[in-house]
Symmetry: C2
Amino acid sequence: MSSRLKDVAALAGVSTRTVSNVVSGSASVAEETRVRVQAALDELGYRPNVAARNLRAGRTGLIGLAIPELYSPYFGELASLIVEAAQQRAWTVVIDQTSGDPDAERRLLEGTGGRLVDGLIISPWALGPEELTGRPRHVPAVLLGERRPHGLADRVAVDNVLAADEATTHLLASGRRRIAAIGPQPHLRNETAAQRLAGYRNALRRAGLHPDPALEQPVTTLHRTDGAEAMTALLDAGIRPDAVFAFTDELALGAMHVARRRGVRVPHEMAFAGFDDIEDGRYANPPLTTVVPDKRQIAERSLQCLADRIYSPASAVPPLDVVIPHQLAVRASSGWTDS
Amino acid sequence: MSSRLKDVAALAGVSTRTVSNVVSGSASVAEETRVRVQAALDELGYRPNVAARNLRAGRTGLIGLAIPELYSPYFGELASLIVEAAQQRAWTVVIDQTSGDPDAERRLLEGTGGRLVDGLIISPWALGPEELTGRPRHVPAVLLGERRPHGLADRVAVDNVLAADEATTHLLASGRRRIAAIGPQPHLRNETAAQRLAGYRNALRRAGLHPDPALEQPVTTLHRTDGAEAMTALLDAGIRPDAVFAFTDELALGAMHVARRRGVRVPHEMAFAGFDDIEDGRYANPPLTTVVPDKRQIAERSLQCLADRIYSPASAVPPLDVVIPHQLAVRASSGWTDS
DNA sequence: CCACTCTATTGCAACGTCGCATTCAACGTC
DNA sequence: GACGTTGAATGCGACGTTGCAATAGAGTGG
């Protein structure tokens, strides 16, 4: 059905090795032969067998991207950038959705499924630091988010503590004093939410305010519904913050949606700031103030780390901690202008 | 570095074939031997070499998903469902972003990159029908969207004409008469926009209205910005429709955003309906009326088609045309209640 | 007790490709 | 005219796995 080097060689009247040389273009081939072989290649519609190449080369040219969920805007945008950057490096991306399942994350890190990928970019959700960095890995890995690496994997992330601090400070600067935090996840081993909470508290304390536990609304996941529920819980408890720092844009949008439905004027009575700079935030009503991580750099640097580990020998290089720059995009949701 | 069957066999004092039997669990192995081999497997941390397996099996266990862009909500949600459904079938998904590049789409369909995937699900953007179905393919393919198949590939899609008709009819039912259509793409060979335009016109004509070219706003791509530009163009031209049917939710959200910014009251003065049922639409202000394709079924049926083609011999089965059910979700953007 | 079946295990070969070493011919140089 | 050099093409083997056929041994029934 599909033709192999052998078939092409037979048709062109040369050895398989010569055909291989023509295909790869590496060794020297006489012009006349090259033309003849090329004609045979075209006639048979030869396509190299990737599995055989991989076996020979000891590499698959695949890298894995393991994220909790592909359908959320943040991970969708990030995945898109990673796929794009990988294409430029002639890598193909295979996507795994862990759905926040610790076993799935563990399985991927250990490579239990077999040596399919040359490297792995994983955004951990359920696994704690020690599990992530403790055990040996069969494949180079880059952790997105999380805290600084102790173990074997590189880490690429923004400075969550600083960024959360800046966002909160921005809200304080416009005179807000009762600022709610939507997004703590005390039930998870994951560090990201904890870091953003720490930044939020830092900012409050620096402004001379005491963090109020009643204003910290935990969530189970990071979807709009969770933000909506958190805001509902606050309002139903009679708590009326004058600003909200949500740990992700989706949480912020869900919360803002409920606030407006309940008749709260945004941003007059309640300002909002989020984290991630997803596209919807820019088109929300009002547009959402947010921390803007440089997602393109996250993608680029992650792949760079993988490339270094994959291609450099033995890699005695200690685990890297790559800090990605971020900005604060101030939009109407935290200003005084009406939407 | 990494251990092979041979290493495990040496350690356990058996042949590689026996180790292989233990790993696969297919052939019968004495309990005592199984235990001993398993111990060796664990000790060496054996991981099967996927490339070798693939070479032997003639399959890679990979399927390709080619979509214009991963970061758009619709494709993100769809990709997520396809990855999920593929995992259940023990398939791994590799993602290609075509970015609307006809060459990229062609390359994937022809499998120029080599026989990497066992099957391909492609959502064409730039290629026209004849290119999609004309030439022979090296790998089973499923087309998402597009029109009915003439050639070799199966096709999975909602009935775009009917769905667009229903959405428009719904707008007409609330008394709207000047209904704009945002989303025609006359510059593309792709059929989807043309089908939705046809459905929109059908509904108008059935209501005794003449489709007005001035109310049909073409777009280049399907992002929020395109919807925003389209609405800006309409309003700047002094055209003030009393309803908008946008061919995707993103277009609708962008258009609605601009309308509200310009002081148009939604839905009182202008009703909106979209297509796709992306999550943001449900949390928009006001929530967006939209055509809801059964995305889970799109994922399931696509994979089913691929599975049939991949596993069934010779496949004399003619190309399938799978029509996916849809619904119309009526929300506040097309009602009379305030947001 | 022999023929036969069944279980457990094994060796061989092949999947398609490419690195390495080799061969062969042509050519130029001393 | 012998010799080294270069260019072109080839054959061999190995990457790690598993299907197939074969083997040896244990168990069963007449």
